[in-house]
Amino acid sequence: MIYWELFLGFFKVGCFSFGGAYSSIPLIRDVVLSYGWLSDEMITYMIAVSESTPGPIMVNLATYVGSNQGGLLGAVITTIAVVLPAFIIILLITSLLKTVLENKYVKTILDGLIPCIIGIILATGCYMMITNLFIFKTGISLNLQSIIIAAILIIISFGSNKFLKKSISPIFLIIIAAFLGIIVF
């Protein structure tokens, strides 16, 4: 049943999304693609939309997929599902299990999870970058226009950290990328 699948899919996303906005995208992408709810193009599209609308990206994507697949009820289900794990865990930590995060077994599990999540995020970022920079049609060729855009974005994004000591906001980088896309392609 679609509602149950929606709930389960986004509950999983909610359980395993550690570390903030962009770190949850690889996980969402994995779940959404495996159920066939959205294409890679639509995911990118929705990330851009999420950046320009309020609220956490994870919640925005959940609401969108839910509404797309199951109307209003679907949207309510996915939004609740993605929020529920965080809600329950914080409730347990503040009320009953105040020291659970200091428990050595819980710590060990988290120490195993976090490096794995980082590896997954890195792999997804690399894979997405590769699919942008190369054209896989007849053989493999470089996509020059994309390489130019990628180079500019990397310089802006990592350069602002180094020289301005300030991180450029994601929304600003996305706006620059949109302009570059219109000019170059």
Partner: protein, 192 residues
């Protein structure tokens, strides 16, 4: 009742005015919950920010649940969490009804080709920032590298293996290593 309404309204505003989510929300939560309403102390907020790093979910949800629970128990936490999620839910729900064939307009399709590259840069940047924070010890580094390679292969060959299974395996492996180490340590002490 007034407190509940106040909690709802405050978190509704927080949800409405924070774009992109994540740490962008912390200064606004500091202003409203710590300075204006004195619902939690600055130290409590900083502590919860650290806790939020080792618990799943957006930090805004974590903070809303925490503040709500502190002020009014379970019902308070439900009201605050509902309040913080509602604005983004409404906005996206309305958008999803009207946004369909935008991508077929040429100029927008071109812009999105650019944005797609920006998203991969942003994801890579998050990964690099997180790598800087992991302890430089063999076990975490090996877990990270092998997860990276496995996930890359899963992506390239479109294997039917979810990233969540990968995470569960990593957690289990680390737990087994920990238990084995502990056992051999206690045995060593027993021999002495």
């Amino acid at each position: 009742m007034k407190l509940l309404f106040n909690l709802f309204l405050t978190f509704f505003k927080i949800g409405l005015f924070t774009f992109g989510g994540g740490y962008a929300m912390i200064p606004i939560i500091e202003q409203t919950c710590v300075k204006n309403n004195k619902w939690i102390t600055h130290d409590e907020m900083m502590n919860l920010t650290i806790v939020a790093e080792s618990t799943p979910g957006p930090i805004a949800i974590n903070l809303a649940t925490f503040v709500g629970y502190r002020q009014k128990g379970l019902i308070g936490s439900i009201v605050s969490t509902f309040g913080v999620v509602l604005p983004s839910f409404l906005v996206i729900y309305i958008i999803s009804m009207y946004l369909n064939n935008f991508l077929e307009i040429t100029i927008i399709a071109k812009a999105f080709k650019g944005i797609k590259i920006a998203v991969s840069v942003l994801i890579l940047k998050v990964a690099i920032n997180m790598i800087k924070k992991i302890p430089k010890k063999p076990v975490p580094l090996i877990i990270m590298l092998s997860s990276f390679l496995t996930m890359l292969l899963i992506n390239i060959f479109a294997w039917n293996f979810s990233s969540i299974s990968l995470m569960l395996i990593a957690a289990a492996v680390n737990l087994v290593i920990f238990i084995v180490k502990n056992n051999s340590k206690s045995k060593g002490e027993a021999v002495k």
